[in-house]
C-alpha cells in the first residue's frame, strides 16, 4: 500500500483482563515495542461504545492498521469487524488470563505472556495489509450441471427455481439417465408398500418448459477453463459442432455404472441369458409392458426367480467392489414385487448375507415384501449352474448346510461404480501411489503411471488445470471431499459433486444431494463475484500473490496446492486463480524462496510475531515454546480449554496458522536460531480418514517437517525440540497437555543454547 500506515492499538480491560494484568504496561508495550501510533484502553471494547471508539479512530484519525488486545480472534467477530483496515487481535483472555492461575507468584509470567502477545499482534499488524478483492471475475450467475439423470435434472430445476440460469449437459440423446430405463422406483411416501412410477417424464417436461434451463443433448465437455465466476466451457456435440458459454459454478452429477457382471464367472452371467443384472431386469420388466415378465433365453413366462445379493460387492477379492452400494437390497425387494405384480403366482427368493434396507422406505418396504410372500433366505451363493432350469448353489447360513434351488431366472444384485474421470493424483496419492514404507525406483514409477493411463477413463470435465482434467478421488473412484464437514465440496473449488458419483445412493438421496450441491454451487458463484473464498475460510478476501523477481519456477506451489488452483503462465511462472483458491496457504508453506504471501498472512506476519517475542536470557530459566496451531481445530480446542480453565504452561506462545500446510520451514529455523527452546505444531488428522480442512495441508506439513531433523542436527539441537501433533477440535484436555509436555521435555534436556 502506497499510503502511509497509521497504527492504532486498543486494549480491553473487561472480562477480568484489567484486574489480572497491568493495562498501563500493556499500553506502553504496544506503543514502545509494538510501535503503535496510538493506544487506548477501554473497559469493554466489544460494547457499542467500545466499538465506536475504534470506529472513530478509523473514520476520524485515519487509522489504517488496528491492533485489538482483548479476547481470542475467534470471539466477538461481529463486534470487531472492520473490513476497511488491516486488523489483528492479541488474545489476552483465552490466551493468557484464562489459562493461568490467579496467584501472586504467577503474576510476573502472566504479564510477560500478555506483553508478548501484544508485541506479536502489533508486529502482525505492521506486516499486514488490508485484504481487498482481486477483481479477477465478476458475478456470473449461470450454473452448469453435468449429467442429465435424476441428480442432474434435480440440480438444474433447483438452480432455476432459485433464479439462476442453468446450462445442462447430457451425453446421451435424452434426459432421464438410468432411471428412465426403470420400470418403477422405490416408494417415497408412506406406507412405503409398493413400487411407484418415477417422476422422470414430468421432470423432463418441466425442464423443457423452463426458459432458465438450456439443455445440451448428445454433448460432452471439450474443455473447461477458468475459475469460479469465470468458467469458460467448450461444449462438443456428437454431430461435431461446438459451442461456448461461461458459467459461475459447476455441479457434476455424472452418476454411476453398474458393476460389470462379466467379472463374476461363478454366477454364469456369460454362459446363460437367464442370468441378468438388476439393471437388466428393469429393462425386462419394462419390455413386459404390463404383461408377465418373460425369460430372455426362450420367452417363457417366469415362474420362479432367485436374487443373488451382494454380487461382486462387499468383497475382499480383487476385481470386486469392496464396498456395499447401499440400495441394492431394497432394489431386489422392489424387483421381486414386480414379479408378484406381473407374473401371478411367481416364486421370488432373495438370497442375502446381510440384508440392509436403509432410508425412509427401508423397514416398511422390507415388511411389505415379506407380506407379498417374497421369500428371504440368508444364504451365500457360490455358483449358478446354467441349464434349462438354473441351479443356484449356496450355503444356507441359518441351517448351516450346503443347499441348492432351481429357478427360471437369476438376478444378480450388482453394485454401483462412480462415473468419474481420471484421477489427477492416481500415481501420487491415489491407488497407484507408493504404499507406506514403499520406495519406488523411477522405472517402477513410470510403470505405474503407464498402468494408470491404461485404466484411466475418458475425462468428463476436461479441466484446463495444470493438475489434471477431473476431480481428485479419495477411494474406489469416488471424488475426494471433506466428508464430515463439507460433503459436497470437492478438491476443485466451485465444482460440486452430487449423486452416486459422490457415493452410492438411491434416488431420494440423490435428489437431496442435488439440492445441496446446487446450493453450494450458487454460493460459490456468488462468493466468486465478491472475490470471497469458499469454505472453510468463507468470506475471506485475501488471496495469494507472489514476488516474480524472487520466483525460481520450482513448481512446488503448483504441484502441492490441494485444490489445483495454480496454473502456469506462458513464461512458466505460477498463475494464481483467486477464485479457485481456498486460502489455506499450502503454497506459501511450499515455497522454498518465500515469495508467496497473502495481504494479511505471509512469511512476515508470522515470522515477525516469532521475532517479537522476548526471549529471556538463559540464566533466567524461562524457556519459550512456539506453538503453531491450526486455526480450524487446534486453536479452537485451545480456546475451549481456556473456557474450561485448563492450565497452559506460561512459556508457550501460540500463533494460529491457516493450516499446518502453510507453515514455512523458515519459521522453524528462525525460531530455533532466535533461541526458542521447543516448537509444537498442531494440525488436523492426516491420511485416508483425514480431518484436514484443506485435505492435504496436514499431510504436506508432516512430510516437510520430517526433514526438520536435518536442520536440528546442523544446529546441534535435540530432535525432541520440534514435535508435530494431530489435534482434533475435541482435544480440549489433550491440546494443552501437549504444550505442557514440551515444557517438561525442555526441563529434561535443558534450555536452548541459541539465546542472545
Amino acid at each position: 500500500m502506497a499510503e502511509e500506515k497509521k497504527m492504532a492499538g486498543f486494549v480491553c480491560t473487561g472480562c477480568g483482563i484489567g484486574e489480572r494484568l497491568d493495562a498501563g504496561q500493556l499500553e506502553t508495550t504496544a506503543t514502545r515495542d509494538g510501535k503503535m501510533n496510538t493506544c487506548v484502553q477501554h473497559d469493554m471494547l466489544c460494547s457499542k461504545e467500545g466499538v465506536q471508539v475504534i470506529r472513530d479512530t478509523i473514520d476520524n484519525d485515519g487509522a489504517t492498521h488496528v491492533m485489538i488486545a482483548a479476547c481470542s480472534r475467534r470471539a466477538k467477530v461481529e463486534a470487531f469487524n472492520f473490513p476497511e483496515v488491516a486488523m489483528t487481535r492479541a488474545n489476552l483472555r483465552e490466551g493468557v488470563i484464562w489459562v493461568r492461575p490467579d496467584t501472586d507468584e504467577n503474576k510476573e509470567t502472566t504479564q510477560e505472556m500478555a506483553d508478548d502477545y501484544i508485541r506479536m499482534a502489533c508486529a502482525e499488524a505492521k506486516f499486514s495489509t488490508k485484504p481487498s478483492k482481486s477483481g479477477e471475475q465478476e458475478l456470473n450467475k449461470t450454473i452448469m450441471v453435468v449429467g442429465g439423470g435424476i441428480t442432474g435434472m434435480t440440480a438444474a430445476m433447483e438452480a432455476a427455481a432459485a433464479g439462476y440460469p442453468v446450462q445442462l449437459i447430457e451425453k446421451s440423446g435424452a434426459l432421464g439417465g438410468r432411471i428412465a430405463e426403470y420400470y418403477k422406483v422405490l416408494p417415497t411416501r408412506s406406507p412405503y408398500a409398493t413400487p411407484q412410477e418415477s417422476s422422470i417424464a414430468e421432470m423432463a417436461a418441466a425442464i423443457e418448459a423452463d426458459d432458465k434451463i438450456t439443455v445440451h443433448l448428445n454433448s460432452t465437455l471439450a474443455q473447461t477453463s477458468g475459475a469460479p465466476g469465470r468458467f469458460s466451457v467448450d461444449v462438443a456435440t456428437e454431430s461435431g459442432s461446438t459451442s461456448n458459454f461461461t458459467c459461475g459454478a459447476i455441479a457434476q452429477a455424472t452418476g454411476f455404472t453398474p458393476f460389470d457382471a462379466n467379472k463374476l464367472p461363478e454366477f454364469g452371467y456369460d454362459k446363460s441369458a437367464d442370468v441378468v443384472t438388476n439393471h437388466e431386469l428393469e429393462a425386462l420388466a419394462k419390455a413386459a409392458n404390463g404383461g408377465p415378465i418373460k425369460r430372455p433365453s426362450d420367452g417363457k413366462e417366469i415362474t420362479s426367480v432367485a436374487f443373488v445379493q451382494n454380487a461382486g460387492q462387499c468383497s475382499d477379492e480383487e476385481n470386486k467392489l469392496a464396498y456395499f452400494s447401499g440400495v441394492t437390497d431394497l432394489v431386489s425387494i422392489k424387483q421381486a414385487m414386480y414379479f408378484k405384480e406381473l407374473n401371478g403366482d411367481c416364486d421370488t427368493t432373495i438370497l442375502f448375507n446381510n440384508l440392509r434396507t436403509p432410508g425412509a422406505a427401508g423397514e416398511d418396504f422390507y415388511r411389505a415384501g415379506q407380506e407379498a410372500m417374497v421369500l428371504f433366505s440368508k444364504g451365500i451363493v457360490s455358483e449358478v449352474v446354467p441349464g434349462d432350469s438354473l441351479t443356484v448353489k449356496f450355503k444356507d447360513m441359518i441351517l448351516n448346510e450346503d443347499a441348492e434351488m432351481d429357478c427360471d431366472l437369476v438376478v444378480l444384485a450388482v453394485g454401483m461404480e462412480p462415473n468419474s474421470g481420471p484421477d489427477p493424483y492416481y500415481a501420487t496419492e491415489g491407488a497407484g501411489a507408493p504404499q507406506e514404507g514403499e520406495e519406488l525406483t523411477d522405472e517402477e514409477k513410470e510403470e505405474r503411471a503407464a498402468a494408470a493411463n491404461e485404466v484411466s477413463v475418458d475425462s468428463i470435465l476436461n479441466l484446463d488445470y495444470r493438475q489434471g482434467t477431473d476431480l481428485p478421488q479419495l477411494k474406489y473412484g469416488f471424488n475426494d471431499s471433506h466428508f464430515i464437514c463439507f460433503p459436497y465440496e470437492t478438491r476443485r473449488t466451485g465444482i460440486y459433486a452430487a449423486g452416486p458419483v459422490r457415493r452410492p445412493m438411491d434416488i431420494q438421496q440423490a435428489r437431496d444431494d442435488a439440492a445441496g450441491a446446487t446450493m453450494k454451487a450458487i454460493q460459490a458463484a456468488e462468493n466468486a463475484g465478491k472475490g470471497m473464498a469458499a469454505h472453510p475460510r468463507a468470506g475471506d478476501l485475501s488471496y495469494p500473490s507472489f514476488r516474480k523477481e524472487g520466483c525460481t519456477q520450482c513448481k512446488r506451489c503448483t504441484v502441492e496446492c490441494p485444490f489445483g488452483a495454480i496454473n502456469e503462465d506462458e513464461k512458466r511462472y505460477p498463475l494464481f486463480n483467486e477464485a479457485r483458491c481456498r486460502r489455506c496457504g499450502t503454497c506459501m508453506g511450499a515455497c522454498p524462496v518465500r515469495v508467496i504471501s497473502f495481504e494479511n498472512y505471509s512469511i512476515d506476519t508470522v515470522g515477525q510475531q516469532i521475532k517479537n517475542v522476548e526471549i529471556p536470557e538463559e540464566w533466567d530459566e524461562k524457556p519459550r515454546i512456539l506453538v503453531l496451531a491450526c486455526e480450524n481445530d487446534a486453536y479452537p480446542a485451545l480456546d475451549q480449554a481456556a473456557m474450561n480453565g485448563v492450565e497452559i504452561n506460561p512459556w508457550a506462545r501460540v500463533i494460529p496458522v491457516r493450516c499446518l500446510g502453510s507453515v514455512s520451514l523458515s519459521w522453524i529455523t528462525d525460531s530455533l536460531n532466535n533461541g526458542y527452546d521447543g516448537i509444537v505444531l498442531m494440525g488436523c488428522q492426516r491420511g485416508e480418514d483425514y480431518q484436514c480442512h484443506f485435505v492435504r495441508g496436514s499431510a504436506m506439513a508432516a512430510e516437510r517437517m520430517s526433514k526438520v531433523g536435518d536442520t536440528l542436527q546442523t544446529l546441534n539441537l535435540e530432535p525432541e525440540r520440534v514435535v508435530v501433533h494431530e489435534v482434533a477440535i475435541t482435544d480440549i484436555e489433550r491440546a494443552p497437555k501437549l504444550i505442557n509436555d514440551m515444557a517438561e521435555t525442555i526441563e529434561k534436556i535443558g534450555m536452548s543454547p541459541f539465546k542472545f
Partner: protein
Amino acid sequence: MSTNSQKYRNSFLKEVEANVEEGEWVKMCMQCGVCAGSCPLGKHWDHPPQEIFMMIRAGKREEVLTSDSMWMCTSCYNCIARCPRGLPITHIMHGLATYAKRLGLAPKNQPTQGFSQLFWDNLMKKGRVNELKMGLSMYFKDGFAQGVKNAMANQKLGQNMMKAKRMNAMEIMGGHGVKSPGDLAKIIKKAQEIEDGKIQDFS
C-alpha cells in the same frame, strides 16, 4: 425328500400359511435369532424356532412336520415377548405340532404328545378333567410294573393332595363332569368339522 424345484420356493410356506394356526406369520420372520436365544429349553430343541421358520422356507416339509422340536415348547412366551417382529411364536409352535399330528407325521412316543392325548381323552369323557384318573393313566402309561413304582414314589404327594381335598379317591368310580356331556361332544364335533373344512389339501 423335496426336489430342487420345491426348495426355497413358496409351496410349503403356503401350506403352513393355510393350515397352521398363526402360520401366516412365518413369512414375516427376519431371521434375527432372538427367539432361539430366548428359549429356556433351547438346548433341548433339535431346531429352534428360527430354524423351523427357515426350514419351512427351504421347503423341508417332512423334516419340519416329523420334528419333535415344536413339541418341546412349554409356552413360557419368552420368544413372543422378545420377537422384534411381533410373531406369535409360541402359538405357531403349537399350531405346527397340531398340524403334524393331524397329518399323522408327529413323532411317535413323544412324551408331550402322549400327555396331551391322555389329557384330551380324559377331558372328553365327562367334560371335566378327572385328576385321579389322569394321574393314574400317567403313572401306568409305561406298563403295570412301572406304574406301581411311580405310584409308590409319589405316595406322599397323593396323600397330601387328598388331605388338602385336592383329590378324591372316590373319583375312581366315575367322578365329576359337566351337566350335559352329550351336548359338549356335539359342540366339539361341530368345531372339528369347521376346522376340517378349513384345511386345504396340499398332498
